[in-house]
Symmetry: none
Subunit: 208 residues, 4 copies
DNA sequence: AATGAATGAGAATTCATTCAT
DNA sequence: TATGAATGAATTCTCATTCAT
């Protein structure tokens, strides 16, 4: 039956794409399947997107947009360093619970070789994170809170490393299982894990 | 597998497989190509391995074997905690330089959905690492070196998280580019980065 | 067809169709493209024409109509046989310059397998030409100008063969390139080529 | 069932290709169909030929090879001009009877836009014919047989034009039907048609 | 009536896997 | 036993045709 796409259905396409790409990876993802899950025909997908690559980029962009949104909140508000670190860890874990597919999309581009467009999107998000965390580390240093001898860049890298793998640990199947292995009873206690991470990060950055 | 992997030819097949899987990912990897690079016919490959999945598992197993080998050295020898941490960071980066394909194989299974056999292999290596690091953290705690309030499991998780992402940062293209973005001039100075990481980890675990 | 082709818009559609079919061939021709160039929607095109085949026939009919128009002039006027032959060769080449798309449409049906309707249209034009040329040859014979032993039908066939391939040589890319290969410096001198052809045809038909 | 291709089957592939391309044209020709008719799987076709284009070129080359073979006989032997012209007309018609698909392949490239490889093949055959016929016309001129005022190039063009359309008239459906329309009872009498054509050509070239 | 987005069958192409030699 | 040509299902992508708006 020929029926105009509702705007709901249009969103549905990207959503179905993210679902499929996140679950099965770019190569295994089937356009036919995505169309079926989105309740549309393959033709309509190719009306909006030039090819599989192009569609993947659109899904990726949507996913990263949500991730970037979270980042921007990081430097907002007035709080102690510990509070801020706790806030971001909490946000990252919450985000992973709410948008596991977005995180999986991010993880997806870390493997395989993608189009220049995808590389560019990926580069942008890394630059934004890097800038954000380096600015924070610089601020800490200026007020004499960053441990002496600690380089701002290394500190930012260290900090984002932990956040990235934490995101994976709550979204990507493999890392989730690994988290269970490492944490056993702590696996289900997000609160406690956050507290531990904050303590460790504080020790690393502030020395207390 | 009809035969144990003993002959030189067998090693050659696995090596060619690791090369291909690491470089092109599971889906894009070509069996024909692997056979050609190993100097055998596809028929022989299928004599030893049931299918692509099965062969991938064999390659994965070999890769993980090398990774596990490194781990065992961790607890060996008598040294201060800082020395030990430095040693492992150094070893991890050296290993990534020497065996980037093995690390890529490890990264490869973190994406996509692999067979039960692959999951099992992966589980084993995570259990070994987890046990190793937890044992170390426990030892630290017992001698009163671990910062008060820090859980051994969380500490082990924290520590391995950093090591895993550091391995990726030196082997997986995406993470390597990301490392460059974060570290800029520090990108080429492994020594300095290790020093920084050790300092941060020491601060996190030991409070100094 | 629900409506006769009367309105200006209708001509526009056919014109766009001829353009597209002549340039890209039946299979590669795009209905969407034709509609766009005609300034209408595809829906309208399908209102007037049952399908692509049907529309092609309409375009073909229009093209052939123009070709037939030229034919009718052939027997008009009072002139010597040589003058008449020269006139028709000149007309054919002029026509090819002015309406290359119509000639291409004609060439297009000589390949592929078209619908009965197209065959019928094609048959009609061939019958008209055949009748025209046979009548002329008969007239020549009756006044004793046609060389003895020359059959009127064969002469008509011979004559039209030359005209048809001459048309292709000025309209269809392939035959145009071929003409260049054969004629080299004569390629750009229509006048001279016509003169040569007339001489040859005169020799063939009249013996001088 | 997996079974080695007999060499007979290998020839069969090209033959099936020529059949399909000749009958349905490049665009409509179906690779699946060709494979089925050749008694092979699609995969094997793609083992030998890069893609549809490449396979078409192979079929075209095979077809043109046979055509060129005939051409070479043209200048052989010692005979009067009339005998030679008769011989080539006879040969051309025989050839069209024996290899109608080869002629259809030749006709096929006169429409549509083909790959550089196909253009090159086509150009070569036109150059060979052109050279052959021009050499013959030059020879005629040198012995004073070519009618005065007749250009060798134009004569060669005129001659090949007739041969080409004669080939089409015996192989390409459209031109075959046209031949019937023009010749009526002469349609079935190849001998008589040849005699007529030879007479006409002799009149054109030699003036008798 | 006119629109043009949606449909989905069908095409070319790939490549893991098989098995005749 | 080893080979690698043959298989054919599955994938992406196109576009004539339909029909809800």
């Amino acid at each position: 039956m020929l029926k105009k796409l509702t705007s709901e259905q249009q969103e549905c396409i990207i959503e179905a794409g993210i679902e499929e790409f996140a679950d099965r990876g770019f190569e295994k993802a089937s356009i036919k399947n995505i169309a079926k899950n989105a309740g549309i025909s393959v033709g309509v997908l190719y009306k909006y997107y030039k090819n599989k690559d192009d569609f993947f980029n659109a899904c990726l962009e949507e996913s990263l947009k949500v991730l970037i949104g979270k980042l921007e909140e990081f430097l907002e508000g007035d709080m102690t360093p510990r509070e801020r670190v706790k806030k971001i860890f909490t946000a990252v874990i919450e985000f992973s619970h709410e948008h596991p597919k977005a995180v999986k999309m991010y993880h997806e581009i870390t493997s395989g070789s993608f189009s220049p467009k995808a590389r560019e999107l990926a580069k942008r998000i890394e630059e934004i994170s890097s800038d954000t965390y380096r600015a924070y580390m610089k601020a800490l240093k200026e007020v004499g809170l960053l441990r002496p001898g600690v380089d701002e860049k290394a500190a930012a890298f260290f900090f984002d490393n932990l956040l990235v793998i934490m995101q994976f640990s709550y979204s990507v199947d493999y890392f989730d299982e690994r988290r269970k292995i490492y944490l056993s009873d702590l696996y289900d206690d997000d609160e406690a894990l956050i507290e531990q991470m904050v303590t460790l990060v504080d020790g690393a950055l502030l020395g207390r």
